[in-house]
Amino acid sequence: MRRALVAISLLALTLPSQALARGEFDPTTEFEQHEWVPIHLGPLDLSITKAVVYLMLGSLLTMALGIILMRWRLNVEPGTRQTFGETIYDVAQSQIAEQGLPSKAIGLWFPYVASLFLFIFVVNLIGFIPLPLTGETWHGFPVWGIYAATSSISVTLALAALTFVFTHFEGVRWNGPVRYFKSWIPDAPKPLLVLIVPLEVLGQIMRLISLSVRLFANMLAGHILILTFIGLMFILETVILAPFVITVATAFYIFEVVIVVGIQAFIFATLSAIYIGSAIEPQH
């Protein structure tokens, strides 16, 4: 049963209906956002697009996962489901939260980093499951495709901005504004400080960029890689390449699902914990 499911999902990935319907294959069109339900509030554009639908699906799944695995029918002797939930909780606590957060703040910020981890993991993962959400039809059937909401910079930048705001808010709240901003100034000879302090401030802003670009570019490049290898068949208009490109695309697909999806969620949550923790307890 499980093997059949894997086989079917791999087969669905390689079905070339989309490219055939279009006649011309261009992987970048997969990442275009079309307004499905236009909502405009003045200058604000809150339209529901493909990414928004994937995010809603991701949040629903994250909540369901948390409730089913960690809240529902808990026993003293855990079954498979509960053991799995406890493993996720243990990873989030010992590998992520305790890496960066000081013990006095762990009760307050563990829920944030743990839900960040679970949410990014789920959103990344449903990005690799073919779903009929491409918004196109082929002879009346919805076209199936893969797309991750985290391969859009707006999503990852919003998540990184959350961490950025929380970091400085907590730094000021626990240390007071004077002591917190003083901790940015390292011990160095006075003339060098003119050079070092702007670099330190720049470093704080670069965190925002590196945090968001790392996740966004990883997911985008992963999807482009898979789509391009399959698209090679249609660009060169030959079926002889099929065994080669499908093998390579499947290898990349497995690499992304097994390693990249989990690692990126883990990294984002761990770095958030480290940043918040280092603001609560500055080194100087």
Binding site: Q99, V213, A217, A221, I267
Partner: protein, 87 residues
């Protein structure tokens, strides 16, 4: 030499320049990150060979370092895509 080649080329030379820039950016970024990832895993193997009981603790650090290094490719990719689109 260069003048003869330039004289012989017909068509859009800027397109070629953009393609070369994109490929160079990604390629050099990948070269640097490749060396970095190799270093991380080589020191991981050495550490585990010397002290196998530390494997559990080291694995977390190893993946953190892997992801931080791997991201360097994507900074290169992003820079070259910007160059490709904007120029």
């Amino acid at each position: 030499m260069l003048a003869t080649i330039l004289a012989a080329t017909s068509g859009d030379v800027t397109k070629a320049g953009k393609a070369i820039g994109l490929a160079l950016g990604v390629g050099l970024g990948a070269a640097g990150a490749g060396v970095g990832i190799g270093l991380i895993f080589s020191s991981m193997i050495q550490s585990v060979a010397r002290q196998p009981e530390l494997r559990g603790e080291l694995t977390g650090i190893q993946w953190l370092g892997f992801a931080l290094t791997e991201a360097v490719v994507f900074y290169g990719l992003l820079g070259s895509i910007l160059a490709f689109v904007l120029v």
